[in-house]
Symmetry: C2
Subunit: 564 residues, 2 copies
């Protein structure tokens, strides 16, 4: 078996069925091996940024492994944004690349044409990156890279093969590198006891759920636990699908969070943070006051996250699934039913606030979808409307965000990857500016007639920057509105160019009523026009405590708070 065949066989053994990339001379042997192997298929991207985002979407759909390949030089540099996104989102992907000549003299500018050593380039945005020159290193490096990608706090790895290696006979070596047990045989008895003891002493605890729960495959356990202990759960915005649809889930917090969620955070006396980075702006007065002077316990697999200091917090480095399994054995005596009724009241009174035209329309789509349809959100004002509609509609579909890197334009690629993984329709929501960044990937959707429904939330502006200009710069707009230089293509023609059926909102609304949407068999592009003035509201001005989102509600609507 040659190296190319071995690599493909390895990927298949790890459950990879679809990979994404663009052919290049140095990577052809790998591509041929892909083509010759049953059970795995390569898909042609139009930009390596798209290819890596496709691998991300594939991996994120259900926390499996994603794979992208790219050629040397510009192939690798084009992939950088996708790799950074995967690192930021803890997405396990392998990026495979290849070089014809290995740079020997880094002081020389481009010793070989097109050859750029990718290892230093991605060193800070991968868990592991290496160039492989020897057939004897292939098995070990592949195994090690894969383990790095999928264990602990997950993330991207990059393997750069010498192109001459692909055709060489692989040397099968012992790949039993690490004695790490991914299942985690550690017993967290002490940690559980500690948490239980604290829980017995408080009256208004909350669980702050993070995406780490999903990463750890612990979505099931957190539900069981919250149900058994009867503790309200809130989450970060990016983790709203971790426990959505659960009766004790009370939405997401944040500076553009749900009003009742921020209230509940503020009124709690105990925060059990599970797989949540608690990445509030460190100088934020708003969240400090919601966290200070109460017991905060943080559990995370990545101990380095605890260097993001939360005053007074107790930190435990744990594998969350194992921890929760252990936790589930315990019983508690304390009851928090009174606190739950406060939370219920907050939610009931505030549920209908802060909605707008865009939120209502997105809700309309959400409510017409079956629960197995995955949603991918892009970056910008539209993502906040999506989050709000998600909370308002009460659905519990899987939803992908670019949570911390904020990769504008990432949704198209991720939707494609997710669609290949789930083999089900995917709803992709993107703004009129964001779609431009990876617009070339529409080629894959149109060509393969993938059931990806693209909702363009078109407010004819660079909405989020415009919001900032409005609030902080006295509405001085530059390149963010049509009057100040912003523009977008005519999406109807874009759709035709890429062979994707196009709908205006009113056309699509008719389809929604007919309920055809539940079983899309091919792609679609819907253009939802939203007034530019519909802004990113409510928000938290600097210095406001977290429950005081602006615009403030009329005073009479707050009256009920006195009773709580």
């Amino acid at each position: 078996m040659n190296v190319a065949e071995y690599v493909v066989k390895f990927l298949v053994s790890k459950g990879v069925g679809d990979v994404f990339g663009i052919p290049g001379g140095v990577i052809l042997d790998f591509l041929y091996a892909l083509e010759a192997t049953p059970g795995i298929e390569a898909h042609l991207s139009s930009h390596e940024q798209g290819a890596v985002l496709e691998a991300c979407g594939y991996a994120q759909a259900e926390s499996s492994l994603g794979v992208a390949y790219c050629t040397r030089g510009p192939g690798v540099t084009n992939a950088v944004t996708g790799i950074a996104e995967a690192f930021s989102e803890s997405v396990p992907i392998i990026v495979l690349t290849s070089h014809a000549n290995r740079t020997q003299n880094p002081g020389m500018r481009f010793e070989f044409d097109q050859e750029l050593d990718p290892v230093p380039l991605v060193a800070n945005i991968t868990k592991y990156a290496v160039q492989i020159e020897d057939p004897e290193d292939v098995c070990r490096e592949l195994e090690y890279a894969w383990q790095q990608a999928v264990t602990g706090r997950k993330g991207p790895v990059l393997l750069d093969f010498a192109s001459a290696l692909w055709k060489r006979e692989v040397t099968i070596t012992d790949t039993d590198i690490a004695a790490e047990d991914p299942d985690g045989t550690v017993v967290y008895t002490n940690t559980v006891n500690y948490v239980m003891e604290r829980l017995e002493k408080v009256k208004r605890p909350v669980i702050l759920a993070g995406d780490g729960l999903r990463q750890a495959g612990a979505c099931r356990y957190i539900r069981e636990l919250a149900e058994r202990l009867r503790i309200p759960v809130i989450s970060s915005r990016g983790a709203q699908d971790v426990i959505s649809g659960f009766p004790l889930y009370y939405g997401y917090i944040g500076s553009h969070g749900i009003r009742y969620s921020n209230f509940i955070l503020e009124k709690s006396d105990f925060i059990l943070s599970l797989g949540n980075r608690m990445s509030f702006p460190p100088a934020s007065e708003s969240f400090r006051s919601a966290i200070e002077n109460k017991c905060v316990i943080r559990l995370d697999i990545d101990e380095r996250e605890f260097e993001r200091e939360i005053p007074g917090a107790i930190n435990f480095t744990v594998e969350i699934s194992a921890f929760l399994k252990e936790f589930l054995k315990y019983r508690k005596n304390q009851s928090y039913e009174e606190w739950i009724s406060v939370c219920d009241r907050l939610k009931k009174e505030l549920r209908d606030k802060d909605l707008n035209e865009a939120v209502y329309k997105i809700t309309q789509i959400f409510q017409s979808m079956s629960s197995d349809i995955l949603i991918v959100s892009d970056v910008g004002n539209n993502e906040f409307w999506v989050s709000r509609a998600y909370e308002y509609s009460g659905i519990c579909n899987r939803i992908l965000y670019s949570k911390s890197f904020g990769t504008l334009g990432c949704a198209i690629g991720k939707a494609i990857g997710a669609c290949y993984y789930t083999q089900r329709p995917v709803l992709c929501i993107v703004g009129d500016q964001g779609i431009q960044l990876n617009i070339q990937e529409l080629q894959m959707i149109g060509q393969a007639q993938l059931p990806v429904l693209i909702l363009i939330v078109n407010n004819h502006s660079s909405g989020m920057i415009r919001s900032r200009e409005r609030v902080k710069y006295n509405a001085r707009y530059v390149h963010t509105t049509p009057d100040s230089g912003y523009g977008h293509p005519e999406f109807e023609f874009i759709a035709r160019a890429y062979n994707i059926p196009y709908y205006t909102w009113s056309d699509f609304e008719k389809k929604l009523v007919e309920e055809e949407i539940r079983e899309w068999t091919g792609p679609g592009m819907i253009e939802l026009e939203v007034d530019m003035e519909v802004d990113l509201q409510p928000g938290l001005p600097l210095g406001n405590t977290c429950q005081n989102l602006e615009p403030a509600l009329p005073e009479e609507q707050y009256a009920f708070l006195d009773q709580l």
Copy 2:
């Protein structure tokens, strides 16, 4: 004056009239300063990759300074390919970026959302990169970065400003950093004497011109020199416009070079390489035999280039303009007229060979253009047809290539930048795959109605990889032909979506006849259909000496060689 205003004023003082980028929260203050300053204009890109390529085109049009700005995080990672291209092409550009929080703990994964320290990311693809935190550092860093970009071997620099800095009062400091004299007062008498002495002893000298001549502003001097010494000039493909139209210029060499150029290289007994990297594949038998056992003298400003060893070569690190000015004072005694007649004969006999349908049609356009129209070529088979048409048509227009990084898709961005610099029409030639990579930048062309004429050479394939598959892999195609998964959008609708008039070749040919093309006032997209079977020929199989390009010419066409 605040920092933002100072930076803008600095750019204006360096002759920068247009900058490219996308607004982001951390960079707004800089953008407002741009907008408020006369004589400089910001243009809205659709992807930061495009913005940096636009800055490259702007800079390359006449070797001036280009500037792009981008926001933090994905803004910076999106810029990476453009920065690598600028580094590889020695293009002087400044990339301005900004951060709200400086990463203090690099071991932590994304200490702050969206914040990625760009300095290690671009360390290997910039001449200089730095984060600036203090108003006292602004003047010095800006001056130093600029000097790095525009002096010696040019290239990109990156300055990452703390966003809080923009509004702070700048501290004017002494920026007289380096005592380097960019004019070079060094006298190269010894070098010139050495070269002259060698020249007197040889019979068939050639000057091998490289793009370094243009970088050094020495295009004028090389013409004067070659004319005075009566020495034939050949060039690398990427430098064919350095001395084009000159009677003693005999085309470009290379593994896909011009047949007579390779012959002349092979038959020469002395090579004077000026600003040429001589980056033949180091293992290439083909070029080794053309270089070995003859006198090779290399002159370059970047001494590290000499680490690319050429056996027996004599290397001098010189500032080429100063060197040539000195050289021009000398007279020689030796005459090379017999050698020139050999070169003329080679060119005459072989000029009409190796042409194809695509070359003829591109020639047709070239011959209808005025000489002040800049041409930008993309990457792929089409670029080789463009080079050949350029040589065949005998034009001397400025032409931009991605010479060594091979950045597929770079042409659209570069054409935009060049158009803003020259304020004249620009011809942009790109393949059906390449255009996809930066297709979103058509927005800028359509919106500003820039006179950029885009010729899409559409062979419905990933031509260059297909060529490789045909030759080296027994025509086993994967993702490179319509049958094997390759596809492209319908360009007519793309053109409509971006508000660009569209022409088929036959429509456009009529326009050509009417000679309207000399004065384009707006954009256009022409789709030139080329049969997929028209391949990248001739080429040099491994092991052939450089004059033996394949397909070989019929024997009778080579008969004249016996007389030379």
